[in-house]
């Protein structure tokens, strides 16, 4: 009796947790002009309307390009840093790791304001370099953290074996370390890409009239109008995110990928 009640409670809470995401999907097929549940009929008109919104398509393209650039830049900078942190014992090593991951501990609204003020002075507001730098503020900590965790779980003996057989350090890195790191690298790419693609608070402060990202465009749309159009975009985003996670899972296995 008490157990059944507990299970009902758990089920109710799970429904509460998943309801907003799950309800958005049928909503996107609504035939109504406004947000109403249940919809009076179903249609694909909001998917058609979504394609008509020029601003959204451009914002989606911007977000995609931005996330790709941010992922590449983050990887290029985080990889050497993670290597240094994992492989060399030097004074202040822990302090440096703490400093590099510190932005994750602070509220994004504060980080966003701090960037806005600096970017105004530097003329970076609403520019591509500005957005890339701003996103790296939050992606670099993830990159350094996930890559150094992934490095620390590699078996050191394999590298030592290669080195003892006469391989120079650069070959050891290229032929042994890097291939072993592929799961960690794929995971880092996926995490950094999604963090950048989803970033909204910092972007809201940094974007300009000529350069808007998809989350910012959606935020502004929801702020001014409530119709099922955003549900259509949201459904596509959910499918897109799911695809990335599934690819990640297929490629390396989720548990292995996040370094367990």
């Amino acid at each position: 009796m008490g157990k059944a009640l507990f299970h009902v409670l758990v089920a109710a809470m799970l429904v509460f947790l998943l309801a907003p995401v799950l309800l958005v999907i049928p909503m996107s097929f609504s035939a109504d002009k406004v947000l109403a549940w249940p919809p009076s009929g179903f249609s694909l008109k909001w998917y058609a309307a979504m394609l008509e919104e020029r601003g959204l398509a451009e914002a989606a393209r911007n977000s995609l390009v931005l996330a790709l650039v941010v992922t590449t830049a983050t990887l290029a900078i985080a990889m050497p840093a993670a290597l240094a942190i994992d492989r060399w014992r030097f004074a202040g090593r822990d302090a440096i790791l703490a400093l590099l991951t510190a932005p994750l501990l602070l509220p994004t609204i504060v980080l966003a304001l701090a960037l806005l003020i600096i970017f105004v002075g530097a003329g970076l507001l609403g520019t591509w370099p500005g957005l890339v730098l701003a996103h790296m503020l939050v992606t670099l900590p993830y990159g350094v953290r996930v890559l150094s965790t992934s490095l620390s779980t590699l078996p050191a003996s394999v590298e030592e074996a290669a080195a003892s057989l006469g391989a120079p350090p650069s070959s050891v890195f290229r032929r042994v370390t890097l291939p072993l790191m592929v799961p960690g690298l794929v995971a880092t790419c996926a995490i950094v890409f999604l963090v950048s693609f989803d970033e909204v608070v910092i972007s809201l402060f940094i974007v300009g009239p000529q350069l808007v990202t998809l989350p910012v465009a959606l935020f502004r749309y929801v702020e001014s109008r409530t119709d099922p159009l955003v549900a259509a975009v949201s459904t596509l985003l959910v499918v897109f995110t799911l695809a990335i996670v599934l690819i990640l899972d297929r490629a390396v296995g989720l548990r292995r990928a996040v370094g367990k």
Partner: protein, 279 residues
């Protein structure tokens, strides 16, 4: 300096430079800004003044803003704990095979942008939404308004913070031990007594970690209060945005940011104290 250290520094340099440019310098600048003067148009005049802080301390609006933000964040934290605890307990007791699947299901909303999830709550709580139509179906002529007010913000944020809370709770449930519960039950304790005297005390580390996480995220949240509050709910983060983007009063925005950081610090300190007390 040995070669290895120099190489390590060279490898770290790009990351440190980016950190300096987008983190250390902007944050330092932000801290100083609240002590600068600004003209009515928003231009900074330099100098050092306590004028912004004095104005904020003298204005009851800001005192209420801080008090409201903290109160709302605390209620959200408590409600998130209540909603997440049964799920976490259930997952913790589930056999290994199903455990991972359940954890993935609970964490999956984190992969969906806060804008989309907040929009989902508009679908549910809006005037023509799911809850309103159910209430109408039950015969209520005028269902209460659940969006563009504090109710909506609280409901939306509780759901958005639940995955964090569930993860923190499960991480802190290590001391939970089925044999202790069985022992208490076999000695005649009723289920609720077992829960209150055995389960809750043993899961306190998880409860505190989850509450810390939920509180700091709630008190600094922006997207959900802005969208579900519809401009009628004033919290610290929404006020920082308005001051920075709409009013262009950067010293006030900077000062409010420091207030948020101080609240973070106090929460962390309390967490440290309480953790030591129960350890």
């Amino acid at each position: 300096m040995p070669i290895a250290s120099r190489l390590a520094l060279a490898l770290l340099l790009p990351a440190l430079l980016v950190n300096l440019a987008v983190f250390l310098v902007p944050m330092g600048n932000l801290a100083l800004l609240s002590f600068q003067q600004a003209s009515a148009g928003g231009a900074l005049l330099g100098g050092f003044t306590f004028a912004t802080w004095a104005k904020m301390f003298g204005d009851v609006f800001y005192a209420e803003l801080v008090l409201d933000s903290v109160t709302i964040a605390l209620s959200i934290t408590a409600l998130t704990l209540l909603c997440a605890y049964p799920i976490a307990l259930f997952i913790y007791r589930t056999p290994e095979r199903w455990k991972n699947l359940l954890i993935v299901a609970c964490v999956s909303p984190l992969l969906v942008s806060a804008v989309v999830r907040t929009y989902g709550w508009m679908v549910i709580l809006g005037d023509g939404g799911l809850v309103a139509s159910i209430l109408r179906g039950l015969g209520m002529v005028k269902p209460p308004r659940m969006v563009f007010n504090t109710t909506g913000v609280v409901i939306g944020l509780v759901e958005i913070l639940m995955p964090y809370m569930i993860l923190a709770l499960i991480a802190g449930f290590g001391r939970l031990n089925a044999s202790l519960e069985e022992a208490a039950a076999s000695l005649g304790a009723r289920p609720f007594t077992v829960f209150r005297r055995i389960v809750v005390p043993l899961t306190l580390p998880g409860i505190m970690l989850g509450c810390l996480l939920a509180f700091v995220l709630a008190v600094s949240s922006f997207i959900t209060p802005k969208l579900l509050g519809g401009g009628r709910v004033f919290l610290l983060a929404t006020e920082i945005y308005d001051q920075a983007i709409v009013t262009l009063n950067w010293p006030v925005a900077a000062a409010l940011s420091l207030v948020v950081l101080v609240i973070f610090g106090i929460a962390l300190l309390l967490y440290g104290r309480l953790s030591r007390a129960i350890a």
